[in-house]
Symmetry: C3
Subunit: 175 residues, 3 copies
């Protein structure tokens, strides 16, 4: 069974003083777009490179997640350390994810260039850093998800199928 994890990075949501709306937004998007079977787990962790890195390593190595979607902590603020966490656990960075997410977000807000979103591979797990706001999450998932099923094929992760009318996923050569 394919396992997709979402990780909400937020001091306030983690402390329970703020309701997490970003994790549920990811779950709702997946429920609409992915038509093959998958299990979904979610985590809420405080900001900080160590807490995020620990969650990513556990979900990849112990839980065996095929895909981890992270929301929050990619800005320029002092507590925004999600990219540093990613860099400390991945084997390879895939800079095209960040370039495309910033490009599509730039059509909505000029501050999109402040985002340090990116993606990377750890073993057989693809990890993608999404923005924090629910509407921006949808914009970014719509943009990059067409490339995700084939990426999972290439790294030996599980197979995902998407609803063609929602996300036009692409596999070269009918793979």
């Amino acid at each position: 069974m394919v396992l997709i994890a979402s990780v909400t990075v937020s001091d306030r949501a983690s402390a329970g003083v703020y309701e997490d709306r970003s994790g549920p937004a990811i779950a709702a998007w997946l429920a609409t777009a992915v038509c093959s079977d998958y299990a979904h787990v979610s985590r809420i962790v405080p900001d900080g490179a160590d807490s995020v890195a620990a969650a990513l390593a556990e979900l990849s190595d112990e839980a065996g997640a095929d895909l981890i979607l992270v929301t929050g902590g990619t800005g320029p603020s002092l507590r925004d350390e999600t990219p540093e966490a990613l860099f400390s656990v991945i084997d390879k960075e895939l800079p095209g994810f960040g370039e495309l997410m910033r490009a599509v977000s730039l059509n909505e807000v000029p501050t999109a260039i402040l985002s340090r979103q990116t993606a990377g591979i750890r073993g057989r797990t693809l990890i993608v850093l999404l923005p924090g706001r629910p509407t921006a999450i949808k914009t970014c998932l719509d943009a990059v998800f067409p490339a995700i099923p084939y990426c999972l094929d290439l790294i030996g992760a599980g197979r995902i199928e998407t609803r063609e009318d929602i996300v036009a996923s692409f596999r070269p050569k009918g793979g």
Copy 2:
């Protein structure tokens, strides 16, 4: 009082054999676009990672600059070491600045892809690497400045207001 610094990186301008036109171009752009109070200091330093890094650290740590705009030294030539200087002094890189500056410059010259422009955060200072030529400086400032006031807010630097008819700065939630 908000402090904005400009740093011209050039062996020839630093030696006085060549008049610096890039620093004054930045000063003129700021005078037109920024309508809140600010002080402006300028430096001219020779090429080289050490000289540029020293200037950036001094302006950030001693002078307390909120924003440092650097011009020159971002090309592929042997003496172009401004990005190496930046990488040695920043806490976080903001790759969206370089992506956008190259994208808008690419509309003017195909050699825009040779530029290693980028931006980064050191403490409460935002540092942006601009191109060397005055006309290219304007192109790049027009493109990225709308995101700069909110970035300064996020890192705890001073507040800047811009003239809306010149630069449509954006602060989410009316911040």
Copy 3:
């Protein structure tokens, strides 16, 4: 005499179980687009950071190549280590090459964001990582080659002239 090298990175082509079509595609593109004199050498090496790094260093340091065009090994798969090889031998990365190659490839396939293509400088050699498929090679060379002759000028490599009707190379100030 300007020396342009092509390096095909492929376990199967290197073992002779698969005919290399990518190296010849590069050679054919060059023959059409470059109108000044140049020599061309080609190599086929297996995947892996060490084998690719050794080929790049030898072609730059021993053979004195002005330009090295590499095809293959830039994807997210386990054996795709061409970017790691590049990072281990270059003095400076030029991220604009990868950004532009992914942007133009994205017009053809959404999986373009999976590519880790980029470029870098080693001494007086420019090294560009191209995609593996021949049609994608042409798309990327068409996009980035206009900036290559001027880049070679800047790093002290040999002078290349291109056919203006094929590749509109650009040299500022008529350089």
